[in-house]
């Protein structure tokens, strides 16, 4: 039974991280209808920024995470301005190719400056909590709590504040949003900023129990895509639920079946789901 709960904790941890990354992706998709293939690169840059701020500049974990979130948010806004804004009238295939270009560029640049080695971020929270034989590493607890806090904060921002409402409005109906005088540029920049910050925070939370390297974003971004397809592209609750589904599938699948193939689980799931329901599991109507 303890082993089972251990896997529940693992599933929650993975699900929180995937959910945060998928959330950024789904926000951008909801507003701009761009599948941002470069999102994984933002995640990776986030991890490297935290690493640099902590190891090279000696700042504490939380400050490093905040700094990294700000840097990556700025990077996201720059991307929107320099790459996706000029492409707003192009056919959708161009967005995807441009996003791939950005992804390649960021990966190669990071590799140029930091090298391809695997690095570790030492978390200040490396203790272990024990509850009646159940072992919970502090960092995992931090990830779960951090993700929940962020989600509640984001929900509050989107539902209760005026600025957040503009994002929701834009996602619901673009033309309607223009009609009531919402500035689409501002909303687009803000969405990219939030999405970048979420990616950076997810990376900083996850990095201490994982490794930091230039291609670390590839797997995560592909899983995030699986998640937002599962949850319906553009849907915020869908992203969180999808993240949990994939997180649990991986934790349990990797434990009870074959751990070598655990990365295959999410993609296999996607193939099966899309074969049966091409519009995703929870998608309401077509986007």
């Amino acid at each position: 039974m303890n082993l089972f709960f251990q896997q529940v904790i693992n599933g929650l941890t993975l699900g929180s991280i995937y959910g945060l990354v998928a959330l950024g992706l789904t926000l951008v998709y909801g507003i701009l209808h761009i599948p941002n293939f470069a999102h994984g690169a933002l995640y990776m840059v986030g991890a490297f920024m935290t690493y640099t701020l902590m190891i090279d500049l000696g700042s504490p974990y939380w400050t490093a995470m905040a700094g990294s979130a700000i840097i990556v948010a700025t990077l996201g806004i720059l991307l929107e301005r320099l790459v996706f804004y000029p492409l707003r009238h192009s056919p959708p295939i161009h967005h995807k190719i441009a996003a791939i270009g950005v992804l390649l560029f960021l990966e190669a640049t990071v590799q140029l400056f930091w090298g391809a080695d695997f690095r570790r971020i030492a978390s200040p929270y490396n203790g272990i909590l024990r509850f009646d034989g159940l072992i919970i590493p502090e960092q995992r607890l931090l990830i779960i709590c951090g993700a929940i806090t962020l989600l509640i904060g984001l929900q509050y921002f989107l539902r209760k504040t005026m600025t957040g409402a503009t994002i929701i409005a834009m996602a619901q109906n673009r033309d309607g949003a223009f009609l009531v005088g919402i500035d689409s540029n501002r909303v687009a920049m803000m969405t990219f900023g939030i999405s970048g910050a979420l990616a950076a925070i997810a990376a900083s939370l996850y990095a201490p129990i994982n490794l930091v390297y230039p291609s670390m974003g590839n797997l995560v971004i592909m899983k995030a895509f699986v998640i937002i397809i599962l949850g319906g592209m553009g849907s915020i609750p869908g992203a969180i639920l999808g993240g949990m589904i994939i997180g649990f599938a991986e934790a349990f699948g990797g434990f009870y079946f074959a751990s070598a193939y655990k990365d295959l689980i999410s993609f296999g799931l996607l193939v099966i789901i899309l074969s049966v329901r091409p519009q995703g599991l929870f998608a309401k109507g077509a986007h």
Binding site: V83, H94, G101, L104, F267
Partner: protein, 344 residues
């Protein structure tokens, strides 16, 4: 003046000149290495032509293309190295296998549109990579496949030499381009373009979307498999890295630089970039620092690539020059005009 020079390129004879140049290339090359690089570039060009069918003509961004390239290489490599097949039967089997898997993947993935299709194929490419890397009983895992047979020369030629292999690749490249040329002028090719330009409109014209898209997909994976099999026959050592997503991205870059949806674009793009990377060896690892932004700049400012931009420019010039001169030039422009219109 430039326009006159441009019309030279559009003459029907140009392709024969290029072919002649390709034939004498091993004689004028400085060393064997250059021939080798050229043969590699030709192999990649075949793969790029494959992507051009599904992405350029049919408008569906297939991100599993590198995966199918790897399937072609692995099929050939495993059949010859582990199962003792001869090269040519294995070669045929590799191509058929890529086509068959293309059919399976296409039948599922092409039910999805646009973003969903791109994401799905991205995942398929990754699944292929994971399988090659993890399924050690079949693929040897990360060690890769060694001792792949070279093409059997029937006692006449030795394909382990670079130059004969170069000619072999050239033959397949010419066949590949010839087929694409026929295809793009055929009803089927136009059907693909109609789907790209608007699939709802195409459907309302009575085009069976699914059948045509799957057909385009199978053709493209066949090309990828052919290229992969040739690659395995030349390098004779392969690993799971062949299926790395970066190979797909390389292929997309070649296609985009050359000109998506054009006949000569894939060749121009591939040869251009392969030779530039070759001359800047130190770039190998960091080439994406230049290619990444290059992709972005291309899709923003020159979405039609080198060849597409050239054709558009020629088209505009021929309009400006007025009817008198146009009649004179009309011998060469129709195909260019058509291509420019198609891409509009």
């Amino acid at each position: 003046m430039l326009y006159k020079l441009g019309t030279l390129f559009l003459r029907p004879g140009t392709k024969y000149v290029l072919l002649a140049l390709a034939i004498v290339f091993p004689l004028i090359a400085k060393n064997e290495y250059q021939v080798y690089v050229m043969a590699t570039a030709f192999i990649w060009a075949i793969a790029v032509y494959g992507l051009n069918i599904i992405t350029g003509y049919c408008g569906q961004l297939n991100l599993a293309h590198g995966g199918f390239f790897a399937i072609g290489s692995y099929a050939l490599g495993l059949l010859t190295a582990d199962y003792g097949w001869n090269f040519w039967p294995a070669f045929l089997a590799a191509i058929l296998l890529s086509a068959f898997l293309g059919f399976l993947v296409g039948a599922v993935s092409l039910r999805l549109k646009e973003h969903y299709f791109a994401i799905f194929t991205l995942c398929v490419g990754f699944i292929i990579y994971l399988l090659l890397d993890k399924w050690e009983e079949l693929t040897h895992g990360p060690i890769g496949v060694r001792d792949i047979a070279a093409p059997h020369g029937f006692g006449l030629v030795d394909f382990t030499d670079t130059t004969p292999f170069y000619y072999l690749v050239l033959v397949f490249l010419v066949l590949a381009i010839w087929f694409i040329g026929r295809l793009s002028r055929s009803l089927m090719g136009r059907t693909f373009i109609a789907i790209r330009n608007g699939d709802e409109l195409a459907e309302s014209l009575g085009i069976n979307l699914m059948r045509n898209k799957v057909l385009a997909f199978i053709l493209s994976t066949t090309y990828a498999g052919l290229a992969g099999a040739l690659y395995a026959g030349m390098i004779r050592f392969i690993g799971p890295e062949e299926a790395n997503i970066n190979h797909t991205f390389d292929i997309i870059t070649y296609l985009l630089v050359g000109g998506i949806g054009t006949i000569s674009g894939p060749l121009v793009g591939t040869l251009g970039i392969v030779w530039i990377t070759q001359s800047l060896q130190f770039l190998e690892e960091y080439r994406m620092i230049i290619f990444g932004p290059l992709l972005v700049v291309l899709v923003i400012f020159f979405p039609r690539g080198l060849v597409g931009s050239f054709l558009t420019w020629m088209h505009r010039k021929s309009q400006e020059l007025g009817p008198a001169k146009k009649r004179k030039a009309s011998k060469v422009t129709p195909s260019a005009t058509r291509e420019a219109e198609n891409n509009a």
